[in-house]
């Protein structure tokens, strides 16, 4: 997969390295700023509160 991408990057190796680095940073940024914030509440493993005393709402994660 990566070899295939590498072959398709334009230019000589310095240009290729720079483009590859840029791609890696872009992908990491998408994960960090978009995917992780969305994923984090769904996987939350750190619940600090006891269940609400009111019967209307069940577990509130914290």
């Amino acid at each position: 997969m990566y070899a295939w991408i590498w072959r398709r990057l334009p230019g000589e190796w310095p240009t290729k390295t720079a483009t590859a680095l840029g791609l890696v940073i872009a992908v990491a940024a998408v994960f960090w700023y978009m995917i992780f914030p969305w994923l984090e509440p769904k996987l939350q493993f750190d619940h600090g509160v006891v269940d609400r005393p009111t019967p209307t709402s069940s577990t509130i994660p914290g």
């Binding site: 509440p41 750190d46 619940h47 600090g48 509160v49 006891v50 005393p53 509130i60 994660p61 914290g62």
Partner: protein, 206 residues
């Protein structure tokens, strides 16, 4: 065949790197968010305290600050009114409806033990007699730790006005801190109980 195996290997390595990045995000990235919110809420609180008002604190706003000398003199968090997910991301949260600092009843505060700057990470190190300082507009309330317990997440009686005795009428001024236990788990809750020991005028920050 070889291409497929190589592709699979590359996918696994990529997945591993992404998981590592996610762990960094959980343990460090989320803390950065909390720090930024704490700075903002802290400034807001200082500004509010200079004004004269009798308005009640709104959900999601700063209510008081908490300091625990055992955790060092830099340990200082703004307590947010509310314990919803968004509130607890900003810092420790006060259960709406439970007593306010210094009132008769139970002042209940919940916080993250890990992630989001982990304000209550070291709660397990507290001993009986350790001080919990709660600063409000005019007053500093000095609570002293009286007990610690590990309970099930369903043990709501710890937040009762008389902790663990939901039916009784409160006469004491209590504080209860809750966080998750063990670390990185949601299986149980660690609870710290304390009682008001003294009340001092708040010393304004210079």
């Amino acid at each position: 065949m070889r291409t497929i195996i190589r592709g699979l290997g590359e996918l696994c390595i990529t997945a591993g790197l992404i998981v590592m990045l996610f762990v960094t995000y959980e343990l460090w990235g989320t803390g950065r968010y909390t720090q930024a919110q704490q700075t903002r809420l802290g400034d807001e609180l200082q500004k509010d305290w200079r004004k004269v008002t009798t308005e009640r604190v709104k959900l999601g706003k700063g209510l008081a600050t908490i300091r625990i000398p055992r955790f060092g003199k830099d340990y200082n968090y703004v307590i947010i009114e509310g314990v919803d997910r968004e509130d607890l991301r900003k810092g420790p949260g006060h259960y709406p409806g439970t007593a306010l600092p210094g009132q008769v009843g139970n002042f209940v505060v919940s916080g993250h033990r890990t992630t989001y700057s982990a304000p209550f990470n070291r709660l397990g190190e507290l001993d009986r007699g350790d001080k919990i300082l709660i600063d409000t507009r005019d007053t500093q309330y000095v609570y002293q730790v009286t007990d610690r317990a590990i309970v099930k997440p369903s043990a709501t009686e710890v937040t009762a006005p008389v902790p663990r005795h939901p039916k009784r009428k409160p006469t004491k001024r209590m504080i209860t801190l809750t966080t998750c236990h063990p670390k990185y788990s949601a299986a149980k809750r660690m609870i710290i109980f304390g009682e008001l020991a003294s009340t001092l005028p708040r010393v304004a920050k210079t």
